[in-house]
Amino acid sequence: MIQVSEWSVLLLLLKLASYSALAALAGTFLIRFIIASNLSGHHFISFSQYLKRWQIQCVALGFIAVILQVPIEAGAIAESGVAGMLDPFMQEIVWQSVIGEQALFRGAALFVAMIVALNWRINIKHRFAVVINNTVMLVLLISIAYSFTFTGHSANENGLVKSMLTFHLLAIASWVGSLWPLYKSCTILSVHEVKKVMHLFGHLAIIVVFVLLISGLALLLNYLHSLSALFTSSYGQLILLKLLLVSAMLMMGAWHKLILVPRITQKQHVGTLKRSISVEMLIAAFVLITTSVFTTLVGPPN
């Protein structure tokens, strides 16, 4: 039986904040990549400025989570209230463990990401500068996603499993994190521009979903050694719940791509699409919560 204490809930919220920061950063990167060479004009400038602010806020959220990680882990171990968070012995134990390594690695990656986000120029004329900016941000995103493999059930896995988990995390993060910028695009961009962005996102989403499913299947085969474990173990049941939620997101994505987006220009408004994206965001939030629960409180069956 899992003992859910206040500390477990705090650790769960910390994981959720870390996942959300990665998702928002990856999703914003994807949308920025789409609009960079396909939009122009004052709508593009306004949307880009919004994305820049959003990206800085995402990195700040990630930073807060990193700063709180070691004290909260120390407090959870000390089991002596808030004072335990500052216990030097407990902090030393946490700093010298994989949690400390994770916090340092992720903190460094977020620090560089903050510099890149702050120095992002919306109208970069030099193609070389765009390539450098995108490459650095992609490396940082991979590094932040990889840092999640330092702790938990993947900590003792081989490089292949860790790579699979990194790409799985990046794929789901890009998808989930794109939804808020797409939702905001319905408010900032014109109807034709929204249609263009949604159309291009639909193309990229196919690659994202492909990576997500292939890596997810490989991880499932690695962690669950039998089909029955999917139904009998708590870890398997939570994976089933996540699969159900991701399937719902997939169906909504297909509905957007095949039905709603083609209708945008016909109806000349994006209200239905905006509402539909907000429902998809709600499901995405449940995906992140489910993932946080089974990576923080529940482990794969032995």
Binding site: I77, I93, I99, T151, N156, S234
Partner: protein, 135 residues
């Protein structure tokens, strides 16, 4: 705070399934539920993998902590040993908390019983001698 407490309770109710075991306590001296005829000289814990030991508490049946030379260890190891003071007869509970190699916190407890300690034997003998002398 009420909302936070409610969230903890709801989460606890939802998560009524068994958690998978990570690194666990492989062996201990005294063993779980051991019935000893004399006070144990040492407490030793052996884990299934390397852990960082954060806390070990020994409490008697009156919930009073027993002092021994425990210090938290940030060096990972599988085996830990401490000398124990002489324990009077009674039931003792050992509660341990460790940080596993994967960064997971684990804690558990076990109990053992001391039927008769050397010191209580000596006290008993002294008491008997004293009562004989009085008679």
């Amino acid at each position: 705070m009420k909302l936070f407490n409610s969230a903890v309770v709801i989460l606890g109710l939802v998560l009524t399934f068994s958690a998978s075991a990570h690194i666990s306590l492989k062996q201990s001296t005294p063993t779980q539920e051991a019935m000893l005829m004399q006070s144990p000289e040492q407490l030793s814990l052996t884990f299934g993998g390397e852990v960082r030991l954060a806390k070990v508490i020994i409490k008697d049946e009156k919930n009073k902590s027993i002092n021994f030379d425990f210090k938290p260890s940030s060096t990972p190891s599988t085996d830990f040993n401490w000398s124990l003071p002489s324990l009077a007869h009674g039931t003792y509970t050992v509660k341990w908390t460790v940080l596993g190699g994967d960064g997971h916190k684990m804690s558990d407890s076990f109990s053992f019983m001391v039927h008769q300690s050397e010191s209580s034997n000596m006290m008993q003998e002294q008491s008997n001698a004293h009562s004989k002398h009085n008679h």
